[in-house]
Symmetry: C2
Subunit: 324 residues, 2 copies
């Protein structure tokens, strides 16, 4: 019954049924066994969608850009999926009313499937869940999937990097832009986009980026281009879309795309293994509860000592299975 329901859901996703797509995503987010059982069957179909990560500091205009890209590709009759794991994005509920009204343009178009993901309540971590949700969009047949994350914090940057190509969006006058980039953003960019290019400070920011790239001594063919845009008017959006597709095709041809996907696969498997070990120790073996009781009982505790106790329990509770 359970497996039949999962298999039926997958068929309906393949057939392009939006409600089934949303439902399969929910199973994926929850780490439900029906998702993983089906995954073992449908994964060979994956990898057709182009996956583009859009990241950058709050206020850079990422959501407006994502909307612009989606509308651009819809104009070319391509289907688009958006995964917003950015707490500052209107797509994921962080919006003021104006943003919500604006994004209504996308919400009414069946060719654009938007999934917002919250930090809370996701089994096994946001990066694990966003990988699976993007896979569902791939299975659903989306030509292009945009993954929007706020580019501060290591786990958020990891999500942006899990795409085929990553755009780092910056804006002039964000005085903290270059500082924020030191938080790991610098290394993940395949393309720099200076958005809000009609604001003062454009030349200075482009110069700073150029200087930083010069310092890194990247071979010319691998040097990230610096593009500009005014996403609110649409200026520069088509050029970015074209550059993304051009780079994607070039990398597919050169083998660089396959290498990037292998690298991402390795990181993803690490996240999966770690998520399942965490689940094993805390939930399956009930050690979360044991720890809470131990701490609630009061008295002085050594953090490292308690960790030793938990690990001992973990090993002992696991071991009896092999003697059973």
């Amino acid at each position: 019954m359970t497996l039949t329901a999962g298999a039926d859901l997958v068929s309906r996703v393949r057939a392009g049924e939006a409600l089934a797509c949303a439902r399969l995503m929910s199973l994926a987010e929850a780490g439900d066994a029906r998702f993983t059982a089906e995954y073992a069957r449908f994964w060979p179909e994956l990898g057709r969608a182009r996956r583009y990560g859009i990241t950058g500091p709050p206020g850079a205009g990422k959501s407006t850009l994502v909307e612009g890209l989606a509308l651009h590709w819809r104009g070319l009759s391509r289907t688009v999926g958006v995964v917003a794991v950015d707490p500052t994005s209107p797509f994921s509920g962080g919006a003021l009313l104006g943003d919500r009204v604006r994004m209504g343009r996308l919400a009414l178009d069946a060719g654009v499937f938007i999934r917002s993901m919250a930090t809370r309540g996701v089994f096994g971590g946001l990066a694990r869940a966003s990988d699976d949700v993007v896979d569902v969009l791939d299975l659903y047949g989306r030509d292009t999937v945009l993954i929007e994350t706020v580019g501060v914090g290591q786990s958020e940057v990891d999500i942006a990097r899990s795409a085929d190509l990553t755009v780092v969006v910056l804006h002039p006058g964000g005085g903290d832009t270059i500082q924020a980039m030191k938080a790991g953003l610098m290394e993940v960019a395949d393309i720099y986009l200076v958005n809000k290019a009609d604001m003062p400070g454009l030349d200075r920011l482009v110069q700073q980026l150029t200087d930083i790239l010069d310092l890194r001594e990247i071979p010319p063919d691998r040097r990230p281009p610096i593009l500009t845009s005014v996403a609110s008017t649409g200026e520069g959006v088509a050029a970015l879309a074209a550059e993304l597709d051009r780079m994607h095709a070039a990398r597919a041809a050169s083998g660089a795309l396959a290498a990037r996907r292998s690298e991402n696969l390795e990181k993803r498997v690490r996240r999966l293994v770690e998520g399942r070990l965490r689940h094993d120790v805390w939930e399956t073996l009930g050690l979360a509860e044991a720890l809470a009781r131990r701490v609630a009982a009061g008295g002085p505790h050594s953090a490292w000592g308690l960790a030793d106790e938990i690990l001992d329990c973990y090993r002992k509770r696991r071991t009896p299975e092999s003697h059973a």
Copy 2:
């Protein structure tokens, strides 16, 4: 020999030797066995330092505030430790020249020990390491320890929350302030500090914060106060310092401090256990290398399938020990 060296180091830290303090922190960051062996002995001495977390978006003025607080307490003859895990902080290397010159005032004062922590190269995660580094400052006898983190990204917010009290620093005119707060910052504040209070938009930001607090219907005695400051001139810094110490004393008296420390201990043990499980699977059992070889060998792979393989190996390689 190894243990003697560790014990000697701890004695020198207790005696107030700065170089020994820095060395013990390095052992802690590296997850060195000499640190953990000593920890089992010195942990009952911990818990004397007041631990204050300072967090907020980039550009809010956290580092200037930390400097101001440190100078203030130095004026009262208290010793101060600073742990900067904020990539945008001048203390942790993200500064422009002006910031570095300014922080020189602290660097020459032996009563202020500053430790900056980088995201990279820390064994078992930054939150794990910062807990241990703060403990070393406690052992070193610092009256007050300030933990500065950039308040975007879940792991960074977790670090700010691992203190006894957490100050969320905001500034007017940061248009993204309220949006950034939705990224988990809202829940961690024991005190809101609106810094750069001489900038336009102060009243509006204070009103927004008040509205948000009203919505949450917090009992009056637990409602975080909203303070203001101009850290660059020192205005409001003494008032913040006084409020932190007042709240700390009140919570120590009411039992709320002990409850917060228990809660933090539980989270910390979870981080320790998870860090050691990760180390176990990837390093000790060599499965990181096995995974890399498997992916490098090419061919299509299922992410979930590979995770199953790794977990099988983990269980099998662990199991033989119990039959040995």
